[in-house]
Symmetry: C2
Subunit: 250 residues, 2 copies
Protein backbone atom coordinates (compact mmCIF):
# COMPACT_ATOMS: atom_id res chain seq x y z
CA UNK A 1 0.00 0.00 0.00
CA UNK A 2 1.41 3.35 -1.06
CA UNK A 3 0.22 6.53 0.63
CA UNK A 4 0.12 9.45 -1.79
CA UNK A 5 1.40 12.52 -0.03
CA UNK A 6 1.81 16.14 -0.88
CA UNK A 7 -1.40 16.66 -2.81
CA UNK A 8 -2.40 20.32 -2.76
CA UNK A 9 -5.54 21.46 -0.93
CA UNK A 10 -8.34 20.22 -3.19
CA UNK A 11 -10.50 22.96 -4.69
CA UNK A 12 -13.75 22.78 -6.61
CA UNK A 13 -13.13 21.50 -10.12
CA UNK A 14 -9.79 19.92 -9.23
CA UNK A 15 -8.75 17.07 -11.52
CA UNK A 16 -8.19 14.37 -8.91
CA UNK A 17 -6.85 11.84 -11.40
CA UNK A 18 -4.20 14.33 -12.50
CA UNK A 19 -3.26 15.25 -8.93
CA UNK A 20 -3.03 11.62 -7.89
CA UNK A 21 -0.98 10.61 -10.95
CA UNK A 22 1.39 13.51 -10.31
CA UNK A 23 1.76 12.61 -6.62
CA UNK A 24 2.53 9.01 -7.59
CA UNK A 25 5.18 10.13 -10.06
CA UNK A 26 6.75 12.43 -7.48
CA UNK A 27 7.03 9.41 -5.18
CA UNK A 28 8.80 7.62 -7.99
CA UNK A 29 6.08 5.13 -8.63
CA UNK A 30 3.59 4.85 -11.44
CA UNK A 31 0.23 3.19 -11.67
CA UNK A 32 0.57 -0.47 -12.63
CA UNK A 33 -1.92 -3.02 -13.87
CA UNK A 34 -3.47 -4.58 -10.77
CA UNK A 35 -3.40 -1.39 -8.71
CA UNK A 36 -6.49 -0.19 -6.88
CA UNK A 37 -6.81 3.50 -5.97
CA UNK A 38 -8.63 4.44 -2.75
CA UNK A 39 -9.57 8.13 -2.48
CA UNK A 40 -10.92 9.75 0.67
CA UNK A 41 -14.48 10.99 0.31
CA UNK A 42 -13.52 14.43 1.52
CA UNK A 43 -11.16 15.02 -1.39
CA UNK A 44 -13.85 13.96 -3.84
CA UNK A 45 -16.48 16.14 -2.18
CA UNK A 46 -14.19 19.15 -2.34
CA UNK A 47 -13.36 18.54 -6.00
CA UNK A 48 -17.08 18.29 -6.76
CA UNK A 49 -17.89 21.46 -4.89
CA UNK A 50 -19.88 19.65 -2.19
CA UNK A 51 -18.64 22.16 0.35
CA UNK A 52 -21.20 24.30 2.14
CA UNK A 53 -20.62 27.47 4.11
CA UNK A 54 -22.62 27.02 7.31
CA UNK A 55 -23.57 30.71 7.39
CA UNK A 56 -25.44 30.21 4.13
CA UNK A 57 -27.75 27.52 5.57
CA UNK A 58 -31.21 28.46 6.89
CA UNK A 59 -32.23 25.87 9.46
CA UNK A 60 -35.85 24.78 9.74
CA UNK A 61 -37.61 24.80 13.13
CA UNK A 62 -37.20 21.00 13.28
CA UNK A 63 -33.46 21.24 12.64
CA UNK A 64 -33.18 23.85 15.41
CA UNK A 65 -35.02 21.64 17.86
CA UNK A 66 -33.04 18.50 17.08
CA UNK A 67 -29.76 20.41 17.03
CA UNK A 68 -30.40 21.45 20.61
CA UNK A 69 -31.06 17.86 21.63
CA UNK A 70 -27.82 16.55 20.14
CA UNK A 71 -25.85 19.71 20.96
CA UNK A 72 -24.86 20.31 17.37
CA UNK A 73 -24.87 23.34 15.12
CA UNK A 74 -28.45 23.79 13.87
CA UNK A 75 -27.23 24.62 10.37
CA UNK A 76 -25.28 21.37 10.28
CA UNK A 77 -28.38 19.46 11.38
CA UNK A 78 -30.37 21.19 8.65
CA UNK A 79 -27.86 19.92 6.09
CA UNK A 80 -27.99 16.42 7.58
CA UNK A 81 -31.78 16.38 7.18
CA UNK A 82 -31.54 17.60 3.59
CA UNK A 83 -29.10 14.79 2.80
CA UNK A 84 -31.28 12.12 4.41
CA UNK A 85 -34.36 10.24 3.44
CA UNK A 86 -34.91 8.72 6.86
CA UNK A 87 -33.74 9.23 10.43
CA UNK A 88 -33.09 5.96 12.28
CA UNK A 89 -31.83 7.09 15.67
CA UNK A 90 -30.67 10.14 17.57
CA UNK A 91 -27.50 9.68 19.60
CA UNK A 92 -26.04 12.12 22.06
CA UNK A 93 -24.07 13.89 19.35
CA UNK A 94 -25.41 12.76 16.00
CA UNK A 95 -28.35 11.63 13.92
CA UNK A 96 -28.07 8.13 12.51
CA UNK A 97 -29.74 8.42 9.14
CA UNK A 98 -30.27 6.73 5.83
CA UNK A 99 -28.82 9.06 3.21
CA UNK A 100 -30.36 9.65 -0.19
CA UNK A 101 -27.86 7.04 -1.45
CA UNK A 102 -29.20 4.48 1.03
CA UNK A 103 -26.11 4.59 3.26
CA UNK A 104 -26.78 4.28 6.97
CA UNK A 105 -24.33 6.50 8.85
CA UNK A 106 -23.97 9.30 11.36
CA UNK A 107 -24.94 12.80 10.23
CA UNK A 108 -25.35 11.69 6.61
CA UNK A 109 -21.60 12.00 6.14
CA UNK A 110 -21.76 15.79 6.65
CA UNK A 111 -18.44 16.61 8.23
CA UNK A 112 -16.63 19.62 9.57
CA UNK A 113 -13.07 18.42 9.78
CA UNK A 114 -10.38 19.13 7.18
CA UNK A 115 -12.37 21.82 5.41
CA UNK A 116 -10.36 25.02 5.13
CA UNK A 117 -12.08 27.62 7.26
CA UNK A 118 -13.01 30.50 5.06
CA UNK A 119 -11.40 29.35 1.86
CA UNK A 120 -12.57 32.18 -0.36
CA UNK A 121 -15.73 32.87 1.62
CA UNK A 122 -15.79 33.72 5.29
CA UNK A 123 -16.76 31.32 8.08
CA UNK A 124 -16.90 27.61 8.82
CA UNK A 125 -17.54 25.12 6.06
CA UNK A 126 -18.59 21.48 5.96
CA UNK A 127 -18.47 18.79 3.30
CA UNK A 128 -21.37 16.64 2.16
CA UNK A 129 -20.98 13.23 0.51
CA UNK A 130 -20.76 13.25 -3.30
CA UNK A 131 -24.21 13.18 -4.90
CA UNK A 132 -23.37 9.88 -6.62
CA UNK A 133 -20.14 8.41 -5.21
CA UNK A 134 -20.12 5.51 -7.70
CA UNK A 135 -20.26 8.00 -10.56
CA UNK A 136 -17.45 9.95 -8.88
CA UNK A 137 -15.33 6.79 -8.78
CA UNK A 138 -16.09 6.11 -12.43
CA UNK A 139 -15.07 9.62 -13.46
CA UNK A 140 -11.73 9.29 -11.64
CA UNK A 141 -11.13 5.77 -13.02
CA UNK A 142 -11.84 6.94 -16.57
CA UNK A 143 -9.59 9.98 -16.22
CA UNK A 144 -6.80 7.81 -14.81
CA UNK A 145 -7.15 5.40 -17.71
CA UNK A 146 -6.92 8.21 -20.25
CA UNK A 147 -3.89 9.63 -18.46
CA UNK A 148 -1.95 6.44 -17.70
CA UNK A 149 -3.35 3.90 -20.14
CA UNK A 150 -4.04 1.61 -17.20
CA UNK A 151 -7.40 0.44 -15.92
CA UNK A 152 -7.32 1.15 -12.19
CA UNK A 153 -10.40 0.44 -10.06
CA UNK A 154 -11.27 3.38 -7.82
CA UNK A 155 -12.82 3.20 -4.36
CA UNK A 156 -14.10 6.24 -2.51
CA UNK A 157 -13.81 5.73 1.23
CA UNK A 158 -15.41 7.30 4.28
CA UNK A 159 -15.30 6.46 7.97
CA UNK A 160 -18.48 4.92 9.37
CA UNK A 161 -19.43 3.85 12.87
CA UNK A 162 -20.90 0.44 13.68
CA UNK A 163 -23.86 -0.28 15.92
CA UNK A 164 -22.17 -2.92 18.08
CA UNK A 165 -18.56 -1.90 17.91
CA UNK A 166 -16.76 1.22 19.01
CA UNK A 167 -14.55 3.24 16.73
CA UNK A 168 -14.93 4.11 13.09
CA UNK A 169 -13.74 2.08 10.14
CA UNK A 170 -13.38 3.09 6.51
CA UNK A 171 -15.90 1.65 4.09
CA UNK A 172 -16.38 2.05 0.35
CA UNK A 173 -19.12 4.60 -0.33
CA UNK A 174 -18.27 4.63 -4.03
CA UNK A 175 -16.54 2.21 -6.39
CA UNK A 176 -15.86 1.54 -10.05
CA UNK A 177 -13.79 -0.95 -12.00
CA UNK A 178 -13.93 -4.05 -9.81
CA UNK A 179 -16.29 -6.49 -8.15
CA UNK A 180 -17.02 -5.05 -4.70
CA UNK A 181 -18.47 -8.30 -3.35
CA UNK A 182 -16.44 -11.45 -3.73
CA UNK A 183 -18.88 -14.29 -3.96
CA UNK A 184 -17.22 -17.46 -2.73
CA UNK A 185 -20.38 -19.54 -2.89
CA UNK A 186 -19.75 -22.55 -5.01
CA UNK A 187 -16.01 -22.43 -4.40
CA UNK A 188 -14.45 -25.00 -2.10
CA UNK A 189 -12.61 -24.49 1.14
CA UNK A 190 -9.33 -26.19 2.02
CA UNK A 191 -11.27 -29.35 2.95
CA UNK A 192 -12.97 -29.40 -0.47
CA UNK A 193 -16.26 -28.58 1.23
CA UNK A 194 -18.49 -26.31 -0.84
CA UNK A 195 -18.75 -22.95 0.94
CA UNK A 196 -22.19 -21.49 1.19
CA UNK A 197 -23.23 -18.06 2.21
CA UNK A 198 -19.75 -16.63 2.11
CA UNK A 199 -19.62 -13.31 0.34
CA UNK A 200 -16.77 -10.99 1.26
CA UNK A 201 -17.17 -7.22 1.01
CA UNK A 202 -13.72 -6.80 -0.49
CA UNK A 203 -14.21 -3.14 -1.44
CA UNK A 204 -14.93 -2.35 2.20
CA UNK A 205 -11.83 -4.29 3.25
CA UNK A 206 -9.77 -2.33 0.71
CA UNK A 207 -11.17 0.93 2.09
CA UNK A 208 -10.36 -0.20 5.65
CA UNK A 209 -6.83 -1.18 4.66
CA UNK A 210 -6.24 2.21 3.03
CA UNK A 211 -7.75 3.87 6.08
CA UNK A 212 -4.79 2.67 8.14
CA UNK A 213 -2.56 4.94 6.06
CA UNK A 214 -4.98 7.83 5.72
CA UNK A 215 -5.42 8.28 9.43
CA UNK A 216 -7.56 11.31 9.93
CA UNK A 217 -5.31 14.26 10.48
CA UNK A 218 -2.53 13.26 8.09
CA UNK A 219 -2.84 14.85 4.69
CA UNK A 220 -3.13 11.57 2.81
CA UNK A 221 -6.26 11.67 0.66
CA UNK A 222 -5.32 8.76 -1.58
CA UNK A 223 -3.68 5.35 -1.30
CA UNK A 224 -2.59 2.90 -3.99
CA UNK A 225 -3.17 -0.76 -3.08
CA UNK A 226 -0.78 -2.86 -5.13
CA UNK A 227 -0.83 -6.62 -5.56
CA UNK A 228 -4.41 -7.33 -4.53
CA UNK A 229 -6.01 -9.62 -7.06
CA UNK A 230 -9.35 -7.91 -7.53
CA UNK A 231 -11.95 -9.29 -9.89
CA UNK A 232 -12.51 -6.91 -12.80
CA UNK A 233 -16.02 -5.65 -13.39
CA UNK A 234 -17.96 -2.48 -12.93
CA UNK A 235 -19.83 -3.09 -9.72
CA UNK A 236 -20.87 0.06 -7.85
CA UNK A 237 -20.45 0.31 -4.08
CA UNK A 238 -24.22 0.74 -4.03
CA UNK A 239 -24.33 -3.06 -4.46
CA UNK A 240 -23.07 -3.37 -0.86
CA UNK A 241 -26.02 -1.49 0.59
CA UNK A 242 -28.39 -3.98 2.17
CA UNK A 243 -31.89 -3.49 0.78
CA UNK A 244 -34.13 -1.90 3.41
CA UNK A 245 -36.56 -4.81 3.07
CA UNK A 246 -33.86 -7.22 4.30
CA UNK A 247 -32.76 -4.98 7.14
CA UNK A 248 -33.56 -6.44 10.55
CA UNK A 249 -32.13 -3.59 12.58
CA UNK A 250 -33.96 -0.35 12.03
Amino acid sequence: MIALRGLPEIRRGADLAALVARAARRQETNFQPGDVLVVAQKAVSKAEGRVVRLASVKPSPLAREWAQQIRQDHRLVELVLRESRRVLRMTERALIVETRHGLVCANAGVDRSNVPAGAGRAGAHVTCLPLDPDASARVIANALRRRTGIVVPVIISDTFGRPWRLGLVNVAVGAWGMRVLEDLRGTRDSQQRVLRGTILAVADELAAAAGLLMGKSAAIPAVIVRGYRFRPGNEPARRMVRPAAEDLFR
Copy 2:
Protein backbone atom coordinates in the same frame (compact mmCIF):
# COMPACT_ATOMS: atom_id res chain seq x y z
CA MET B 1 1.33 -7.45 3.98
CA ILE B 2 2.82 -10.91 3.84
CA ALA B 3 0.54 -13.93 3.58
CA LEU B 4 1.97 -16.90 5.46
CA ARG B 5 1.41 -20.03 3.41
CA GLY B 6 2.03 -23.67 3.85
CA LEU B 7 1.08 -24.02 7.49
CA PRO B 8 0.06 -27.59 8.27
CA GLU B 9 -3.52 -28.43 9.20
CA ILE B 10 -3.81 -27.06 12.74
CA ARG B 11 -4.47 -29.68 15.43
CA ARG B 12 -5.41 -29.31 19.06
CA GLY B 13 -2.40 -28.20 21.08
CA ALA B 14 -0.55 -26.83 18.05
CA ASP B 15 2.02 -24.14 18.85
CA LEU B 16 0.77 -21.43 16.51
CA ALA B 17 3.65 -19.07 17.26
CA ALA B 18 6.13 -21.79 16.24
CA LEU B 19 4.20 -22.68 13.09
CA VAL B 20 3.90 -19.04 12.07
CA ALA B 21 7.58 -18.27 12.76
CA ARG B 22 8.59 -21.32 10.72
CA ALA B 23 6.30 -20.33 7.84
CA ALA B 24 7.79 -16.83 7.85
CA ARG B 25 11.33 -18.23 7.76
CA ARG B 26 10.44 -20.54 4.90
CA GLN B 27 9.24 -17.48 2.98
CA GLU B 28 12.61 -15.92 3.67
CA THR B 29 11.31 -13.27 5.96
CA ASN B 30 11.56 -12.89 9.72
CA PHE B 31 9.48 -10.99 12.19
CA GLN B 32 10.68 -7.40 12.51
CA PRO B 33 9.98 -4.72 15.07
CA GLY B 34 6.84 -2.95 13.93
CA ASP B 35 5.18 -6.05 12.51
CA VAL B 36 1.62 -6.97 13.43
CA LEU B 37 0.48 -10.59 13.12
CA VAL B 38 -3.12 -11.30 12.16
CA VAL B 39 -4.27 -14.89 12.74
CA ALA B 40 -7.56 -16.31 11.51
CA GLN B 41 -9.92 -17.29 14.31
CA LYS B 42 -10.35 -20.75 12.88
CA ALA B 43 -6.68 -21.62 13.29
CA VAL B 44 -6.77 -20.43 16.91
CA SER B 45 -9.96 -22.34 17.65
CA LYS B 46 -8.47 -25.52 16.24
CA ALA B 47 -5.24 -25.11 18.23
CA GLU B 48 -7.32 -24.60 21.37
CA GLY B 49 -9.45 -27.64 20.71
CA ARG B 50 -12.61 -25.60 20.16
CA VAL B 51 -13.72 -28.11 17.54
CA VAL B 52 -16.95 -29.99 18.14
CA ARG B 53 -18.16 -33.14 16.43
CA LEU B 54 -21.79 -32.43 15.55
CA ALA B 55 -22.81 -36.02 16.28
CA SER B 56 -21.78 -35.50 19.90
CA VAL B 57 -24.23 -32.61 20.43
CA LYS B 58 -27.66 -33.24 21.94
CA PRO B 59 -30.01 -30.51 20.77
CA SER B 60 -32.68 -29.13 23.09
CA PRO B 61 -36.29 -28.93 21.90
CA LEU B 62 -35.83 -25.17 21.43
CA ALA B 63 -32.76 -25.72 19.25
CA ARG B 64 -34.72 -28.23 17.17
CA GLU B 65 -37.55 -25.81 16.66
CA TRP B 66 -35.37 -22.85 15.71
CA ALA B 67 -33.17 -25.01 13.50
CA GLN B 68 -36.23 -25.87 11.45
CA GLN B 69 -37.15 -22.21 11.10
CA ILE B 70 -33.72 -21.20 9.83
CA ARG B 71 -33.13 -24.46 7.94
CA GLN B 72 -29.94 -25.25 9.81
CA ASP B 73 -28.60 -28.33 11.50
CA HIS B 74 -30.29 -28.56 14.93
CA ARG B 75 -27.01 -29.59 16.59
CA LEU B 76 -25.32 -26.50 15.17
CA VAL B 77 -28.16 -24.33 16.51
CA GLU B 78 -27.77 -26.00 19.90
CA LEU B 79 -24.08 -25.00 19.92
CA VAL B 80 -24.98 -21.46 18.86
CA LEU B 81 -27.37 -21.16 21.80
CA ARG B 82 -24.75 -22.51 24.22
CA GLU B 83 -22.25 -19.92 22.97
CA SER B 84 -24.74 -17.05 23.29
CA ARG B 85 -26.09 -14.96 26.09
CA ARG B 86 -28.76 -13.30 24.02
CA VAL B 87 -30.50 -13.79 20.69
CA LEU B 88 -31.11 -10.53 18.83
CA ARG B 89 -32.69 -11.62 15.58
CA MET B 90 -33.44 -14.67 13.49
CA THR B 91 -32.61 -14.38 9.80
CA GLU B 92 -33.48 -16.84 7.08
CA ARG B 93 -30.31 -18.83 7.66
CA ALA B 94 -28.81 -17.73 10.97
CA LEU B 95 -29.36 -16.47 14.47
CA ILE B 96 -27.90 -13.04 15.18
CA VAL B 97 -26.72 -13.32 18.77
CA GLU B 98 -24.63 -11.70 21.42
CA THR B 99 -21.94 -14.21 22.32
CA ARG B 100 -20.65 -14.78 25.84
CA HIS B 101 -17.80 -12.41 24.89
CA GLY B 102 -20.31 -9.68 24.00
CA LEU B 103 -19.72 -9.97 20.25
CA VAL B 104 -22.79 -9.48 18.09
CA CYS B 105 -22.56 -11.80 15.11
CA ALA B 106 -24.28 -14.53 13.13
CA ASN B 107 -24.42 -17.99 14.71
CA ALA B 108 -22.07 -16.99 17.55
CA GLY B 109 -19.12 -17.58 15.24
CA VAL B 110 -19.87 -21.31 15.10
CA ASP B 111 -18.72 -22.32 11.67
CA ARG B 112 -18.60 -25.42 9.52
CA SER B 113 -16.15 -24.50 6.83
CA ASN B 114 -12.48 -25.48 6.79
CA VAL B 115 -12.83 -28.07 9.54
CA PRO B 116 -11.45 -31.43 8.40
CA ALA B 117 -14.37 -33.81 8.18
CA GLY B 118 -13.70 -36.67 10.51
CA ALA B 119 -10.19 -35.76 11.58
CA GLY B 120 -9.67 -38.55 14.05
CA ARG B 121 -13.34 -38.94 14.89
CA ALA B 122 -16.05 -39.66 12.36
CA GLY B 123 -18.53 -37.12 10.98
CA ALA B 124 -18.87 -33.39 10.48
CA HIS B 125 -17.18 -30.95 12.81
CA VAL B 126 -17.59 -27.25 13.53
CA THR B 127 -15.42 -24.65 15.25
CA CYS B 128 -16.51 -22.34 18.03
CA LEU B 129 -14.82 -19.03 18.83
CA PRO B 130 -11.98 -19.19 21.37
CA LEU B 131 -13.28 -18.91 24.93
CA ASP B 132 -11.22 -15.74 25.46
CA PRO B 133 -9.82 -14.49 22.14
CA ASP B 134 -7.84 -11.67 23.81
CA ALA B 135 -6.09 -14.23 26.02
CA SER B 136 -5.44 -16.33 22.89
CA ALA B 137 -3.79 -13.33 21.23
CA ARG B 138 -1.69 -12.71 24.34
CA VAL B 139 -0.50 -16.31 24.43
CA ILE B 140 0.59 -16.17 20.79
CA ALA B 141 2.25 -12.77 21.24
CA ASN B 142 4.18 -13.98 24.30
CA ALA B 143 5.29 -17.16 22.56
CA LEU B 144 6.42 -15.17 19.52
CA ARG B 145 8.41 -12.82 21.74
CA ARG B 146 10.14 -15.73 23.47
CA ARG B 147 10.90 -17.32 20.12
CA THR B 148 11.95 -14.28 18.09
CA GLY B 149 12.89 -11.71 20.72
CA ILE B 150 10.52 -9.26 19.06
CA VAL B 151 7.33 -7.81 20.49
CA VAL B 152 4.69 -8.41 17.83
CA PRO B 153 1.08 -7.41 18.47
CA VAL B 154 -1.34 -10.19 17.58
CA ILE B 155 -4.86 -9.79 16.23
CA ILE B 156 -7.30 -12.67 15.90
CA SER B 157 -9.71 -12.07 13.04
CA ASP B 158 -13.08 -13.40 12.06
CA THR B 159 -15.56 -12.48 9.33
CA PHE B 160 -18.67 -10.68 10.53
CA GLY B 161 -21.73 -9.42 8.70
CA ARG B 162 -23.08 -5.91 9.08
CA PRO B 163 -26.71 -4.88 9.54
CA TRP B 164 -26.84 -2.31 6.73
CA ARG B 165 -24.25 -3.59 4.35
CA LEU B 166 -23.99 -6.80 2.38
CA GLY B 167 -20.98 -9.05 2.51
CA LEU B 168 -18.73 -10.01 5.39
CA VAL B 169 -15.65 -8.16 6.57
CA ASN B 170 -12.92 -9.30 8.91
CA VAL B 171 -12.89 -7.75 12.37
CA ALA B 172 -10.60 -8.25 15.37
CA VAL B 173 -12.26 -10.59 17.85
CA GLY B 174 -9.05 -10.80 19.89
CA ALA B 175 -5.99 -8.60 20.26
CA TRP B 176 -2.87 -8.10 22.35
CA GLY B 177 0.16 -5.82 22.19
CA MET B 178 -1.27 -2.66 20.65
CA ARG B 179 -3.93 0.00 21.04
CA VAL B 180 -6.98 -1.27 19.17
CA LEU B 181 -8.71 2.12 19.13
CA GLU B 182 -6.77 5.11 17.87
CA ASP B 183 -8.12 8.11 19.67
CA LEU B 184 -7.58 11.17 17.53
CA ARG B 185 -9.55 13.49 19.79
CA GLY B 186 -7.42 16.41 20.74
CA THR B 187 -5.21 16.02 17.68
CA ARG B 188 -5.54 18.55 14.89
CA ASP B 189 -6.55 17.97 11.31
CA SER B 190 -4.73 19.45 8.31
CA GLN B 191 -6.55 22.77 8.92
CA GLN B 192 -5.34 22.85 12.55
CA ARG B 193 -8.92 22.34 13.69
CA VAL B 194 -9.21 20.17 16.78
CA LEU B 195 -10.87 16.88 15.82
CA ARG B 196 -13.57 15.68 18.11
CA GLY B 197 -15.26 12.37 18.26
CA THR B 198 -12.84 10.69 15.91
CA ILE B 199 -11.75 7.31 17.18
CA LEU B 200 -10.57 4.82 14.58
CA ALA B 201 -10.95 1.09 15.17
CA VAL B 202 -7.49 0.36 13.81
CA ALA B 203 -7.43 -3.28 14.94
CA ASP B 204 -10.57 -3.89 12.89
CA GLU B 205 -8.98 -2.16 9.90
CA LEU B 206 -5.89 -4.35 10.29
CA ALA B 207 -8.09 -7.45 10.42
CA ALA B 208 -9.95 -6.28 7.29
CA ALA B 209 -6.68 -5.59 5.47
CA ALA B 210 -5.37 -9.06 6.32
CA GLY B 211 -8.73 -10.51 5.28
CA LEU B 212 -8.00 -9.48 1.70
CA LEU B 213 -5.13 -11.98 1.66
CA MET B 214 -6.80 -14.68 3.69
CA GLY B 215 -9.76 -14.98 1.39
CA LYS B 216 -11.85 -17.83 2.64
CA SER B 217 -10.87 -20.91 0.73
CA ALA B 218 -7.17 -20.18 0.44
CA ALA B 219 -5.11 -21.87 3.12
CA ILE B 220 -3.74 -18.64 4.56
CA PRO B 221 -4.43 -18.58 8.30
CA ALA B 222 -1.95 -15.80 9.13
CA VAL B 223 -0.74 -12.52 7.67
CA ILE B 224 2.10 -10.24 8.72
CA VAL B 225 1.33 -6.53 8.38
CA ARG B 226 4.62 -4.69 8.06
CA GLY B 227 5.15 -0.95 8.31
CA TYR B 228 1.96 0.06 10.07
CA ARG B 229 2.79 2.38 12.93
CA PHE B 230 0.65 0.91 15.68
CA ARG B 231 0.58 2.41 19.14
CA PRO B 232 2.04 -0.02 21.66
CA GLY B 233 -0.10 -1.02 24.60
CA ASN B 234 -2.03 -4.03 25.74
CA GLU B 235 -5.56 -3.18 24.76
CA PRO B 236 -7.84 -6.17 24.26
CA ALA B 237 -10.23 -6.34 21.31
CA ARG B 238 -12.95 -6.47 23.94
CA ARG B 239 -12.45 -2.70 24.19
CA MET B 240 -14.06 -2.37 20.77
CA VAL B 241 -17.31 -3.98 21.89
CA ARG B 242 -19.90 -1.25 22.36
CA PRO B 243 -21.45 -1.54 25.83
CA ALA B 244 -24.99 -2.89 25.58
CA ALA B 245 -26.25 0.19 27.46
CA GLU B 246 -25.02 2.44 24.61
CA ASP B 247 -26.42 0.21 21.90
CA LEU B 248 -29.28 1.83 20.00
CA PHE B 249 -29.92 -1.06 17.63
CA ARG B 250 -31.08 -4.17 19.40
